[in-house]
């Protein structure tokens, strides 16, 4: 049985008390279904992270002006800003 309150903390989530039980059972449903993987022999295979086969996709280290934001654009969706900076919640006492 997984502890969703611990998982919530790891995931930076704060579900309301009424969501704890549904989340507990919802997470468990998927993890129970995943038990069928236990019967699959993977001793002879490696992992697949991605399927493109592309390696070392690089670009020149040049500024692409069409992709740069002005300070105003960068801040336009910020919930809180001050003097042209993002404002973050204090983390120190």
């Amino acid at each position: 049985m997984t502890d969703v309150q611990h998982l919530a903390k790891l995931a930076n989530l704060s579900p309301t008390p009424s969501l704890i039980q549904p989340l507990q059972s919802g997470v468990q449903t998927t993890l129970d279904y995943a038990k069928i993987l236990g019967s699959v022999d993977v001793s002879h295979v490696g992992v697949t992270n991605e399927i493109t086969g592309l390696i070392n996709v690089l670009r020149e280290d040049q500024i692409d002006q069409s992709r740069t934001f002005t300070q105003a654009q960068a801040l336009q969706n910020a919930p809180k800003s001050h003097n042209g900076f993002f404002m973050v919640d204090a983390i120190l006492e």
Partner: protein
Amino acid sequence: MTIEEAYKNIAQYQPIINALITLRDKNDALAELESADPQSPLYGVPYVMKDGYVTRGIRTTAASKMLDTFIPPYSATVYEKLKKAGAILIGKANMDAWGHGASTENTDYGVTKNPWDLSRVAGGSSGGSAAAVIAGMSQFAIGEDTGGSIRNPAGWTNITGLKVTYGRVSRYGAIAYASSFDTVGPMARSVAEVAQLLSIMAGVDPYDGTSSPEPVPDYVSFLNKDLSGTTIGMPIEMFSKGLNSEIYEAIKTAATEFSKLGFNIIDVSLPIAEIGLATYYLIAPSETSSNLARYDGVRYGGKRDLFTEETMRRIMIGTFALSSGYSDAYYHKAQKVRTILMQSYAKAFSQCDVLLMPVSPTVATKIGDLSSDPLASMMADLYTTTINQVGIPSLALPAGFSTEGLPIGMQLVGKKFDEATILAIGHQYQLKTDWHTRSPKL
């Protein structure tokens, strides 16, 4: 379809089916038409995008209150390409928030109703896109498919949708769900339209390092190519337990039609739907738990308590599967089984050129049936998720109707980067059948 016709149908049907989250001001759409090139291939064609693509200056929500007021400062590559081709964006379509769902019920903007039966869902996660197309609110739509999100709603609403080979179309500007599975694809009434759209959308993009340099063929001129002798394999395990009998019969009938068209039909074995569903529901949540970690409410967006229960569930599953002490048994095990999925498809494709299979185990479900049952919601993706994990293309197209009058979809699955063959087979089928021309009475 003209822009005027689209707006007229939106005024009439949007209040009934709720396909769109944001409707663009008609004057803005018409102003854009003024500056478009009349010689461009999609000049003046109205379309909608799933609201999971950023569109500069046009609100983009991913169907989450987290982004309720988000105005993107840049645009997705696919949007730029379509704009250049003369197509006019008229709205942003409803979806399951962040792509998390198969029914467009996990949205903060109200469920999208299925135009064939308003008590049912339109599928998901690109449900609003599919509903808008079949209701005539839009000539075509751009959906996004991570585990079936284009194909499932296409199948449940009687439209044609293409899940492309991973990397065929740039993902730049697509709000990430599971980055190693996410694909950008077209949805329309016919295969011919889908092929034309793919020709415009496909190609390498310097802004997406996973986009492929593979050359883009002329999909449209390939549509009528003589492909007789091509072998279509039907995976026997995908036509066994759990599949609705009417869907089974409809696809068997379609198979007969394919053989009349000159294709060889054979049985193949692909016993991976269940294990593939399990790996999908470990890997996709793992990737989404990482992708959605960026929503910290500092640079844009609201607080994390705005995620829905379903989204929190997926983030938590991923967090668990990646966590120290469990990642070997869950995430890494799933990645190894992903390798086995690839080997299984390779084996099937050694016997045939294309696979024919159902899109979904059932017809469109009643509103509430999937959102109240996580296991049922997972099972809706039974036949679609392995294709994303292997990265191959799949075309969903209409195959008939149930006795209740609900659409039935089928998938033609191709080899990597062989969209041309599945599109041609689908097109040749649509020349001989009329399922795809049928519309709901709204």
